[in-house]
């Protein structure tokens, strides 16, 4: 198969990976493979590709070398980039330098590099990450909020803040942050999925089958409806997003459906919710099994073990 892959397609793939930063979520094995791929590609093709592409790929190689402990090579990439673009003029280069120092364990040096000019917002944003420590997550959140006060339109930071809130279980706050992103990027379907997921987690926390109070049950049902509607919005924008189909399936299988059916069927809003969920159950199960290759029996048996979709 390898001989069929054209250089152009490989280059496009690597550039795409570089722009999207998707390697931040890669497994170590994938990282190592990708590092080898980029190094080979650059050693063969560095003369024949466009200069912009060359430096974008060199930056990618730098990150991958750092992440895979190829420290000598990462230094070589960094030197190549600083020779080309100068040491002080570009924020992007300064960030690379600080990341190199951070990886070598020189956190103070890295902070000093980022601390220079408060107008250089990208550097301030990177500086925020130094407040991250496992013992006090609130401090990191406070720093993120401080940065967002200065730069409220920075969507990536909103996403980071949402992630932090989600980890701490502040689902409502996470949803608020994600909605800030939706305001500027109304078609960001992965964000709609995340909002749905946060509503689902919120429902899981609020509802238990022992709940007696009518208000509480109806409130949980409303949260669940919001989760379902956000998953559906994801599907509306991208119909092959399998995680959202699984989310819908979980919503329709949630234990609250039985409680509603037994006690609150006469409530018109709840009646509608139940009938919609009934319609969606089979469709979502079928779509999810088609897309993911997991067969329906496994899906149903797995659900009885754990009832939360993956993040």
């Amino acid at each position: 198969m390898a001989h069929e892959i054209s250089t152009e397609a490989l280059k496009d793939k690597l550039l795409n990976i570089s722009y999207s930063g998707v390697y931040a979520q890669f497994h170590p094995e994938q990282l190592l493979d990708l590092y080898n791929e980029v190094s080979n590609f650059l050693s063969i093709n560095s003369d024949s590709i466009d200069v912009t592409e060359l430096f974008n790929l060199t930056e990618l190689r730098f990150y991958l070398a750092i992440l895979t402990h190829h420290d000598v090579d990462s230094k070589a990439c960094l030197d190549r980039l600083t020779d080309q673009f100068g040491r002080d003029r570009s924020q992007r280069i300064k960030i690379l330098q600080s990341i190199y120092l951070e990886a070598m364990g020189d956190n103070e040096g890295a902070k000093l590099l980022l601390n220079g000019d408060p107008d250089e917002l990208d550097l301030s944003r990177r500086l925020v990450t130094f407040s991250r420590n496992s013992s006090d997550p609130e401090e990191y959140i406070a720093c993120l909020k401080f940065y967002l006060d200065v730069q409220p339109s920075d969507l990536i930071t909103w996403a980071e803040l949402a992630d932090q809130y989600q980890q701490l279980g502040h689902y409502e706050r996470a949803i608020f942050c994600l909605q800030e992103i939706i305001q500027q990027e109304p078609f960001a379907y992965n964000i709609f999925y995340k909002i749905g997921l946060n509503y689902y987690y919120l429902y899981c926390r609020e509802f238990s089958p022992k709940l007696e109070k009518k208000d509480k049950v109806l409130e949980s049902a409303n949260i669940l409806r919001k989760a379902r509607d956000h998953f559906l919005r994801t599907i509306e924008i991208c119909e092959t997003y399998s995680k959202a189909w699984l989310g819908i399936y979980l919503v329709t299988k949630a234990p609250i459906n039985d409680v509603l059916r037994a006690k609150y069927k006469d409530n018109s809003a709840m009646g509608q919710l139940l009938s919609e969920n009934d319609k969606l159950r089979e469709v979502s199960a079928k779509k999810f099994t088609d897309l993911s290759g997991i067969d329906e029996a496994t899906l149903k048996s797995d659900l009885s073990v754990s009832a939360t979709p993956s993040a």
Binding site: I5, K13, P28, I95, T129, I156, I235, C238, E239
Partner: protein, 130 residues
Amino acid sequence: MSSFAFFLIGGLLLAHSGYSSYELHQFAKEFGTELKSIPSDITLETIAGIMIVVIAAVGSINKASKLSINNEIVPPQNRYLKEIEMKKATKEHETIGINDYQGFESRISFIDIQKKRNEFSDWIKKEKHD
């Protein structure tokens, strides 16, 4: 290959109609007659030539396949244009594995370098151990 044949035929027709027109004008100049219009066969030949070249050009469009992040070859969804409906146009992103909004999930500017490096060294140790 077939589009090459079309290009050739279309090109020959165009060249021939041009030459015919040239000959006609030479003839008219020589004998001092005034041409009212170009004969319809030359016009028709020109139109036919242009149409065949256009058909060849459209036929020779060949979108390249893409690579997914797992190195699978993803053939183009449609031969000519992208899908109009958003829910179908975004299908390609999911097969490739990178969508337009990936940055919100990867957040490379917030990457925890030390943690990722430790993860990697743990993995490498485990691999060597096995």
